[in-house]
């Protein structure tokens, strides 16, 4: 039994059915713990005041925005190489979530930037690359929506995802060129020295886990819906055939 067995639509439906409620509950629990702990039981930062608490939404959303694109890239590659339909549908399902995550990151960033930097928007490398990422998500979803034939749509969006990834990385480094970083460095890394203070660190871990679980839940749900939609289409097609 290989890992690809799980990509069979029937198998996928079978294993994802019990998984969805579990991840949903876990996501709700971790998000609740993280947000309540973060919002009400951590001290205000001595310079940033209460605005520091936006970190609990901003950082996980930004992480997810990038990682979802990577997941779409992997799913697109799987579709191109092995042509598993579930993989293509999963990529499509993830894209909208990624779009929303990017939007959350941009908006929370703007809300935080207004009092802290004195500006909601600045043409600054990190912000700009996120805006470009947002445009990439938009284009990807628009291409999916524009093409009728689902297989062609899956093919073309996969190619777009591959090429787009290269250009997204290029853009990321191109905007660094302006060289006027206002955004602080990474809040988290495995190298402990750079991390934010422990007081903020542990609730943050909870919300990050919550966002990941939320994404998994939504992605599985949307993929299941897409598979059902595909089955419905097939049934309707068969119905029409037998009528004729």
């Amino acid at each position: 039994m290989s890992i690809w067995e799980y990509a069979n639509p029937r198998k996928f439906m079978a294993w994802s059915r019990p998984v969805v409620p579990v991840t949903a509950v876990l996501a709700a629990a971790t998000l609740l713990i993280g947000v309540v702990w973060g919002f009400f039981f951590t001290p205000d930062d001595y310079r940033q005041g209460a605005t520091v608490k936006i970190i609990y939404l901003h950082v996980p959303a930004a992480m997810m925005a990038i990682n979802i694109w990577v997941m779409m890239l992997v799913a697109s590659l799987i579709w191109i190489i092995r042509r598993h339909h579930v993989s293509a549908l999963a990529a499509r399902s993830a894209a909208l979530i990624g779009l929303v995550m990017t939007l959350i990151a941009l908006l929370t960033g703007a809300l935080w930037g207004q009092p802290m930097w004195g500006t909601a928007w600045e043409w600054e490398p990190r912000l700009t690359s996120f805006l470009i990422l947002f445009l990439f998500y938009l284009g990807y979803l628009a291409l999916w929506a524009a093409i009728d034939n689902p297989d062609t749509a899956a093919d073309l969006t996969s190619v777009l995802c591959l090429v787009g990834s290269v250009f997204a990385v290029l853009s990321r480094y191109a905007v660094l060129f302006w060289n006027q970083g206002l955004h602080q460095g990474a809040s988290l890394s495995l190298d402990k020295k750079e991390n934010v203070d422990d007081v903020f660190y542990f609730p943050l871990l909870f919300t990050i886990a919550g966002f990941v679980l939320l994404f998994v839940t939504l992605m599985l749900l949307r993929t299941r819906t897409a598979i059902r939609g595909r089955r419905l289409q097939a049934l309707e097609m068969r119905e029409r055939m037998s009528d004729a």
């Binding site: 284009g139 628009a142 524009a146 062609t152 787009g164 997204a168």
Partner: protein
Amino acid sequence: MIRLFTRDLVLAVRAGGGFGLGLAFFLIVSVLVPFGVGPENELLGRIAPGILWLGALLACLLSLDRIFALDFEDGSLDLLATAPVPMEAVVLMKALAHWVTTGLPLVIAAPVLGVLLQLQGSAYGWLVLSLLIGTPALSVIGTFGAALTVGLKRGGLLMSLLVLPLYVPTLIFGAEAVRRGAAGAENAVPLLLLAGISLGAVALLPFAAAAAIRMNLR
């Protein structure tokens, strides 16, 4: 392949499409900018590199949907797909023809429009050079976008949405090279990066575009 190239060239010139239209668009954009921002020479001179690059990019975008659309409608794209020439070569020739009919005239027209926009004297050489290096990338990336949307009824708007984010790095490095050149600063780095993008796009994107066309024709 050369036949295909000359055919596209002749078609473009005779149909009166991309050739004049792109140039006219470039002219109008450059003329409209002073109306929009006001006739202050100093301000215009400062934003001229960016405006000229942006105008060239938009003019390029305008003529992209012609690359494959006509051939798709009359069925010659199907013939090209079954021809002994590989699809990648067809795409490359199409992009080359697009560059010669759109990119090259833009490069030649840019200095003239630079006068209108009060471009600084030291920037003309850099403007032409950067456009010369950068427009092939615009053509090839655009060809990829056109290949993605070739089968669609109203692909033009969608194509802009797909292609414009891909143009970001080219635009940044191109305009930056001119800006630094105008200020007399060191600009070899953006120029080299621009050349890198062009060469990389010319080398790799025809494969992606050809794959997209095959998927669309299936």
